[in-house]
Symmetry: D2
């Protein structure tokens, strides 16, 4: 109810402040018998952790996950899985000067208003560090989905003004960028941002391959609605789109994904029709705002309501979009996993296939 639990059947509840003792989560409703060990969870966490290159924050976070329950002799038991990550590198004194001042475009002032008090150290609960547990939980969902043939991938398609002209899903670069030919251009941009103490936003795309038809619930819990919520709940995300329908000048006759006996002719709708997966690729785009915590000085107020100025000297990313990749993959997998179980609950008696002739 207070917003720290995600999902309805496969649920993830998280706790933890960026500078408290530990982060943790409970994964409940997990099917029994999934083979998983802490290395598989750790591998996902390692993709998210900062300090991996010169274009993300140099802050070191070890993010060593410990499994406390729910996995016995290498398999999930069906009972709740408890995970924690100890906070080992928190430097709370770094944040003492933020005790009485509100960083612009941060949750500082709204947490203070809502709760009447706040853990001001490093953003507390509002820190993106919270997303570590989403990634850990997503690793378990991913393992199960893989066994069902469902694969999710996220990639960065635009950073600041630089847009990818190609979509290379196999490329590896420190920007997680879809167009490797733009890496030099991105390097120059980041050099400038770091020098100026400024930041930019980013656009990303997620594609899910192998999703069976039938996932998603009509009306309020449409699969696209739940994906939109999942992605929008990630820190700094401010826009989400399903498929490729943003250009309103395109006519209905063009974008309606006509069908033949071998399948859909196009996929403008992004693999979801009427809120239910169609078995085509699920395509999600989203936009991340620029990091707000930057060195460049800004006007703000203190807790007494007086004018003051702030320059955030901490350790931050020039573009948080780069590190959003594993988080977005995790959130997508959590939605799919939950809807997979929801669908099985109600429609477990139905053989769910589209009447396409895939062998032709």
């Amino acid at each position: 109810m207070s917003g720290n639990t995600f999902g309805r059947i496969f649920t993830v509840s998280t706790f933890g402040e960026s500078h408290g003792s530990a982060l943790g989560c409970i994964i409940d409703g997990c099917p029994p018998g999934i083979a998983i060990d802490s290395n598989e969870i750790q591998a996902e966490l390692d993709k998210r952790k900062p300090g991996q290159s010169d274009v993300t924050t140099p802050r070191k976070e070890d993010d060593q996950v410990e499994i406390l329950s729910g996995i016995f002799e290498g398999k999930t038991t069906g009972t709740p899985i408890g995970l924690i990550i100890r906070n080992t590198n928190q430097q709370s004194q770094d944040y003492q000067h933020l005790k009485d001042v509100f960083r612009p475009n941060h949750a500082d002032i709204t947490y203070q208003a809502k709760y009447g008090l706040r853990d001001y150290r490093g953003g507390g609960r509002a820190s993106a560090r919270e997303t570590a547990m989403r990634v850990a939980a997503g690793a378990i969902a991913k393992k199960y989905l893989h066994s069902q043939g469902v694969h999710t991938q996220c990639i960065v398609t635009q950073i600041g003004p630089i847009a990818a002209d190609t979509m290379d899903w196999d490329t590896k670069n420190k920007f997680n960028f879809a167009d490797p030919s733009k890496v030099n251009e991105l390097d120059a941009l980041f050099e400038e941002l770091i020098k100026e103490g400024d930041s930019v936003g980013a656009k990303l795309q997620i594609v899910v391959k192998g999703c069976p038809a039938g996932l998603g619930e009509p009306v309020f819990d449409k699969l696209d609605a739940d994906l939109a919520k999942a992605i929008m709940s990630i820190n700094a995300v401010k826009a989400v789109a399903i498929g490729d329908l943003g250009d309103t000048s395109k006519r209905g006759s063009v974008i309606r994904d006509e069908m033949t006996k071998t399948g859909f002719k196009t996929n403008y709708s992004g693999g979801i029709l009427g809120g239910i997966s169609s078995s085509d690729d699920i395509v999600i785009g989203f936009t991340i705002k620029p990091t707000s915590s930057i060195r460049k000085a800004a006007d703000t107020i203190n807790t007494k309501g007086e004018d003051t100025e702030i320059s955030v000297t901490g350790r931050h990313d020039p573009c948080v979009g780069i590190r959003a990749v594993p988080i977005a993959e995790a959130m997508t997998n959590l939605v799919l996993m939950d809807h997979f179980l929801r669908n099985r609950a109600q429609c477990g008696d139905v053989e769910q296939v589209l009447p396409f002739n895939n062998n032709e």
Copy 2:
């Protein structure tokens, strides 16, 4: 669980197919003592109903709401409010030819896959007619929110290629369009669309004024995440954005909404920080895809998986975005109402104010 209930404390559960006996809903968790009568609910429904002008479907739906419970002597009692609208103008025979064929870009094929059977008459549960009960429920939320000084308005900002150059929130025109100077241009577009049997998409904007600080929950149920889900759950919506952060070339130093003692200097973040309302205007943009049910013939398949062609001759809108206005307002009000009560539950002991000096 099956997706027909919206909200956590102030909940709306709906039922009804477009061509069944009736639509209906239960509104639960409503505060007692709200003065409301069926005329106030009917007034909102009348904004949504088709057949109001030559640019929406000429289909007639009376949409007469009946209150069955929960309101006694003109006031809500705190017990569940039951509402129904009888379907009086359904012409099921119009849809008999759709029994064995799947309309492209519709839920026909995904419902069939998920459930193994479907009510093929007029889209059944997947019809936009389902949104009538959202609007009815929203009318009650709106009444309460007005008493708290919260006002929500939605307007169309783009139809097909025609974008509003001005934002006139007070204008009245049959397109619900923000820029009255474009009405002639829109008329020409619609004439063309009707002649060709085609359709276009639209963009809309919602603004909420007077929302207090403190609504929204951290992490998963951020106010923007719940708004994104609410809007994305409306038929044909495919993209949602909060605030004005879509241009990733803008720097963090520009968009960070600096503060002075009298308030925020800008509102790029759309009135929500860290998932919690900041007391500034909440701004939401969204995109609606073109109507898929159009006269222009399309390739499709039948229930046997054979190739066939379809031309939907029924009564449809060239741009469904126009009629989305009251639905989007209703969904926004439902989210705010629910979060208002959620916030009161947990933080009812806190005086929630921002330290701005509004008298200066």
Copy 3:
């Protein structure tokens, strides 16, 4: 959240006051493809309705159910099922004298305290008439459970001081009483109660045969915990017991339901171990308090807090336990149906069998 929805996957949400326009409910999450028609629902409702004999209230309620959605061509479609029953025999003027006075042991005074106002006509939402929709929804659960071999039956085992000495599950008598040899004794008791304008309590037992192993969730949502809640939520129920463990003088060595390869030797635990069904018969006992609305005058207060006296002259049952039978069966079936789907969601990959050798 406001307590008018039951279940987690197979959910029933009800609305309606005893003297409003109608009662109704939404059944959501129902598996598609269940063959059911309104006669089957009506048959269950007819078991509950008053006026069936001289030992229940002579009040006439037709309780004609109407299906509004979710059933198409004789089968459930997987979309929400809307049902209503119009209130046709309400005599609101009968209750005008209750507007300003609180009936003892009724919800009158607590509803007034909680909501600040109340529908005083016939108990409003607190009337046992609300249970009609539970019975209607239970009919659908029952149909599905029967197809899975699960059968639920409830019977009265004690009325006032008269206890059944035998358990005859096939007997038919107007008291729904397990021991037909006591009918004359019961007749005499009821004659006395009606003459004196008084009432008595009752004890009942529910037995479920054919329940598969594996239903119920560990810890908080144990099957017995959810059954206890379901039964305790029925008007006038004040005690619930699972199995036959009330006699604390019995030793652990006696009541522990030892096992052999052909099954359990005894069933003291009532078919549930660790909150999960064991495949043995589920046995539930419960106690119903005497009707509070009786002719015999009582001290009470009015809405001004002044002393007054009340004699409820309306049409009431000398023992409401008799009519609790179909309601208790319905609630039991709703719990089992919900847990059947919950179990399938999480454990659908597991073949759930006990290692008994049933063929020996």
Copy 4:
């Protein structure tokens, strides 16, 4: 959904097996600003822990709680509270012989059936050790409820055949027994049970003083229904009763709790009317079955379905009822806390008072 979360607004989610790494929980939805430290939580845990006297299991469990999040500078922050207790004294090798055999009247066989595998060490998740986190969470609810004047106490009223003749709520004895004159008799009984390797059941009573009127929701989430579920969810509890209405021979005219302007004349209904608290004392009785894990040999089967015999030589309580006292208090406080917030969410605008003249 999988039953490891309790509550709707003030929620407690637990994880942990008796012989895993740790137990833990997340308390979400907690009001901000409650002053609490780990000593207050530890004090409640110490009441529950085994090894406190010669009449409970000599097993030593330190149960040292660690607060991981949600409490900052001595106060709850409104964000989720993470707690863990490391398992330090688990002797898993003690349980190796239970790997392939099912203890009678335990969850061993039903967990195996449901999940297809189980953590056989000490009962795993089904161990009463799981209740430690309920007690920890209950300590926080208790602190808030005390500040609202609400006080909960539980006491043992019967052990085996020995019933309390007096209700001394202030007595302190190792049996938590309401009648101190029976302590010698109980000593003799326990000596016999320990000698024979057997066990007995118990009855307990809970009383809540100071509960305001208005808590509880109509219909399904009646306060008594939620209390019944909460208590029934405690390991070994098999019966729950509200108030004093078990004697069905008592007439309605006797038990109806008549009212005068100064209050209720009796409290047969146990402080709850129509599912809503009446401001009178809430009274709950419950029954606990005898410990099933006893030394006395029993027939059972192994995982291959073969007959075998078992004698549980581990460290167990002759009567688990004694240690149920703090758990039952905790569960009661969790229910009240949750309903306090639920009531505030919906009815926060209503001044909730009964029209009694308490000053007279």
